[in-house]
Symmetry: C2
DNA sequence: AAATAATTATGTTATTTAACACCGAATATG
DNA sequence: CATATTCGGTGTTAAATAACATAATTATTT
């Protein structure tokens, strides 16, 4: 196997929620077949149209999953943090990927061949249940997002996006700065608007004292108001 | 058990794809615990906020699953035909329903208690795999829909909705009339626009010879052009 | 059958948002 | 170091769509 990091890690630490589900034999199989890969900032993890070969688990870093839309306008579908599993849906649906994934920052991923996962699922009920639950949660989120993105106005959508980033990635030590730095363009494709509108609306929020902006650093000053904007106009 | 239709039916005929997965014992369990229910046109099958108690399978009729959005504007998330399974996602995600479901027309549903399904899933891998696949397909559709609904223009969205109805419900015997009759309002909430815009755009399509409209009856005259509109503006 | 309500249709206006144009600053590149 | 190139910012215009008003038609109820 090409790259195993000199076995300087334990899978039980790296992918705990998956690993605790498996029997000793099954763990051994995963240990033998998995792979660790690193990605630099902006590197592509997989492309739309690729045939899914591995399930992936984000170990370190941040990843965005997005779809290319109309006229080069892309839409962020999901943003991952450690330790989240991804890239398996298309395999189960028996499709090529309908999304693409890139690393937001320097990132480490654990890959497990989909045939291995497929075989394990068929003999390990808890593993199957794990995926059922995972997919059920994601589908609920997707349905909610559809309504938000289509019905909320720009301010509401941007507020929601900022709050999502907060829930997902949390704050830095200062307790007010979002622990993720997005370009205005990414912020736009997360909240379904043009880049100009993301920029404009962001500075309006800042001028209203709801947030403060320093480059890509966003400080949340009035969490309460942000929630109100996200809910109602 | 209240209503079993005098056992004048066989579950193997009614829910074949589920039933073929089960062992004899498991079939017996489902036979003992299931229920058949009828719903009249516009009757509510379940509500947002309800605790999911049964998995459902649509045996006869048509059902819409929708979310109430902002300002009374609802959004159709999914439309079912026989024999499709539904109402189980929220249970697996451990949530109350985030959608509601109503019957489009006189409808028959088979209900199986979720605890029964949950137990079966934990002992029958093929059943678990069935749900994994089902959910994976639906999640892919949901992600695609999000982009369509947010990025396509009105004409594209309506064209897509009409084509979806065609794929899903097919034609009547005449081979041109859609085999489902939606109110303009439902058509609007399927394609994310106001009712007026659905009405207007529909008559524009008719005036362009792409479709013809007779009340709620829609005939597709130029399938090719409809596809082009759905894809590009 | 009359009355009432819901649905469909059409025209007009207002709002929202995208598109475009331009600039300066920061960052990468040869 | 000079120069592209990307990124963030702002103002202006144009396009898409919602909101509103009103009326005709069709269903539903009394």
């Amino acid at each position: 196997m090409a790259d195993k990091e000199q076995i300087s890690y334990k899978l039980a630490d790296i992918i705990p929620n998956l690993f605790t589900i498996l029997t000793e034999d099954q763990k051994k199989l995963v240990e033998q077949t998995h792979q660790i890969q690193h990605f630099k900032k902006n590197e592509i993890v997989y492309c739309e149209g690729d045939i899914p070969k591995s399930m992936m688990c984000l170990i370190k870093g941040k990843i965005k999953i997005f779809k290319d839309g109309i006229g080069g306008r892309s839409q962020i579908i999901r943003m991952l943090k450690p330790v989240e599993y991804f890239a398996y849906r298309a395999y189960f649906a028996n499709e090529p990927y309908v999304t693409a994934a890139t690393a937001f920052e320097s990132t480490t991923i654990c890959l497990i061949p989909m045939e291995v996962i497929d075989n394990l699922i068929r003999i390990n009920n808890d593993l199957a249940y794990f995926f059922v639950k995972e997919l059920s949660i994601d589908l609920g989120i997707a349905d909610g997002r559809t309504v938000s993105l289509t019905q909320k106005h720009i301010r509401g959508r941007l507020a929601e996006a900022i709050l999502f980033l907060l829930e997902n990635y949390g704050m830095e030590e200062d307790n007010v700065t979002l622990n993720i730095y997005l370009s205005r363009e990414d912020l736009a494709s997360l909240s379904n608007m043009t880049t100009s509108n993301a920029i404009r609306t962001l500075s309006i929020f800042a001028s209203e004292g709801i947030i403060s902006v320093d480059g890509r650093r966003i400080k949340i000053l009035d969490d309460e108001r942000l929630r109100r904007i996200s809910k109602h106009g």
